[in-house]
């Protein structure tokens, strides 16, 4: 890229070092998102995202994608950056319950939507979600980098009932590339969860 997005704040390491990520940011004085009707916003903006059922506030440049906001601002690094151009699916999250690419979504435009990441599928320290457990059981990954995105698509695939055949599952999972080629086992995991009737 000729003009990479400049750093938009604390590094990943520092965010991860701070407790709960967003708490490290100086937001106390600002109450509402900078998105009044017809008011253009540029540079840094206060954003409020609803992620995994929680309201999260942070400031970031308006250029920040939802993917970078999740990883760099909110310390939710389960969502992965693969191609960063909407071609690989590693960054898949749910927006209002539907699979979407966080790398092609501006964080500022994701305000007001319900965002679910891989971290939101199961409680911290609690039992894994059925699809997460099925991926382990079916040996549906090798390196694991694409896995969070695969699981987010797989959960949506089952919820939408696109599991009538292996072919239908493959089409519903076609937006997620796996360089280790774990595809047959991924289909097996989705089929298993669909057969048991939960996602």
């Amino acid at each position: 890229m000729a003009d990479p997005t400049p750093p938009t704040g604390p590094s990943r390491r520092r965010v991860l070092g701070a407790s709960a990520g967003a708490a490290a940011l100086p937001l106390a004085a600002r109450a509402a998102p900078d998105r009044g009707p017809g008011e253009p916003t540029a540079g840094d903006a206060l954003m409020v995202l609803r992620v995994n059922g929680q309201e999260r506030r942070f400031t970031a440049d308006v250029r920040t994608t939802l993917l970078d906001a999740l990883r760099e601002r909110l310390a939710l690094t389960g969502t992965k950056k693969g191609c960063d151009h909407g071609q690989c699916g590693a960054c898949t999250v749910h927006l209002d319950g539907r699979s979407a690419l966080s790398c092609l979504t501006l964080a500022i435009a994701a305000q007001g939507h319900e965002i679910t990441t891989i971290e939101g599928l199961s409680p911290p320290g609690g039992p894994l979600a059925p699809m997460q457990a099925a991926f382990i059981e079916a040996d549906a990954f090798q390196c694991g980098y694409c896995t969070p995105g695969q699981i987010m698509s797989a959960v949506a695939c089952v919820k939408e009932g696109r599991t009538g055949s292996d072919e239908e599952i493959r089409e519903a999972m076609s937006g997620n590339i796996c360089r280790c080629a774990a595809y047959p086992h991924i289909v097996a995991a989705v089929r298993a969860v669909a057969g048991r009737g939960f996602a």
Partner: protein, 332 residues
């Protein structure tokens, strides 16, 4: 990505005025699947984005009536693809949408944005190549002598051989859809066929939309051929790929005889491409392998292939023959 200012649109008329005033420095943001990608690549560098997603309240509905179908421009691809009335009355529309992109992108991308998606020509997308008349008017065309296997053979010019990448547009042009727009001082209705411009010597001007003019809906008539319609898409991968060649066909049959045909070709042309010569060749004939092949020859009679794209002349014809025979065999 270059800095920009962004604002949400609360009212379509206000947004259109603001965008018209800003001219080429303003882009509408809907699904963002083309725009954000090309902004990251520095191919597009708008100074201002107007987020039109809030306008889905007025322009995000699917309405099917006795006269036809109205698709709001902010309907998402995935919602139109599964809509029962669309699938029953205009199957080619649902099929073009399902065959396009990935589930995630179909959930995000709006119908209005979809028809305006940019070419996948690698020289357009990569700013390290200086020569691209579409990106930098007058700079030349690196694809003419370059890697051009995926490029167009119909409607090309010496200035640009980039292929129009979309699928949905092929259904719209075949079914004689109308584009409904909003512009300062009102709006207008444009035949879909007149939305995109031939590249000619100005390939950077892709549509006939005025600065700020916003697509708010597509209207598709309930024509006698709409129900017997389908889409065949040939690509390198089984799914999630752009067409090497595709055909959207709609037939009105009188027994084995073709009363009327509507045909569009994707992956092979510089813009959404209606194949009128092929339609004319079929009219009144008995639909069989020979008449379908004759129509396909007519469709590609004016093809001009550069380098590696030469195979598309044959592939495009075979794709159309397969689509025509399959449409003829449909139970309607």
């Amino acid at each position: 990505m270059r800095p920009f200012a962004i604002e949400p649109a609360s009212d379509a008329a206000v947004a259109v005025m603001a965008a018209a005033k800003g001219g080429g420095d303003v882009q509408y943001l809907a699904g963002g699947t083309t725009l954000i990608d090309l902004m990251k690549l520095d191919v597009l560098a708008p100074e201002r984005l107007i987020d039109i997603n809030p306008l889905a309240r007025e322009h995000g509905a699917i309405v099917a009536g006795p006269g036809g179908l109205r698709l709001g421009a902010l309907v998402r691809m995935s919602d139109a693809a599964v809509h029962p009335a669309v699938r029953a009355g205009w199957p080619v529309i649902a099929q073009t949408l399902e065959a396009a992109a990935s589930p995630q992108i179909r959930n995000m991308a709006s119908l209005g944005g979809n028809v305006l998606q940019r070419t996948r020509c690698a020289y357009y997308r990569d700013t390290r190549w200086a020569a691209c008349n579409k990106r930098t008017p007058g700079s030349g065309c690196a694809a003419l002598e370059g890697v051009n296997r995926r490029h167009a053979v119909l409607g090309v010019s010496e200035a640009c051989i980039a292929a129009y990448p979309g699928d949905f547009a092929q259904a719209l042009i075949a079914l004689e859809a109308v584009v409904v727009t909003l512009a300062p001082g009102g709006g207008r209705r444009i035949a879909f066929e007149d939305l995109h411009r031939p590249p000619g010597s100005t390939p950077h001007l892709e549509t006939n939309l005025a600065p700020g003019e916003l697509i708010v809906a597509f209207e598709i008539p309930r024509a006698p051929w709409a129900a017997r319609s389908l889409y065949v898409k040939i690509r390198d991968r089984a799914s999630y790929d752009f067409a090497l060649a595709s055909a959207a066909v709609a037939l009105d049959m009188d027994g084995a005889r073709v009363r009327e045909a509507r045909i569009a070709l994707g992956g092979v042309a510089s813009r959404p491409w209606r194949a009128r010569q092929a339609e004319g060749a079929l009219r009144g004939t008995v639909l069989d392998e020979a008449s379908a092949a004759g129509a396909a020859r007519a469709a590609f009679a004016g093809a001009r292939a550069h380098g590696e794209a030469a195979f598309k002349r044959e592939l495009g014809q075979r794709t159309l023959v397969r689509a025509l025979l399959a449409a003829g065999a449909m139970e309607v």
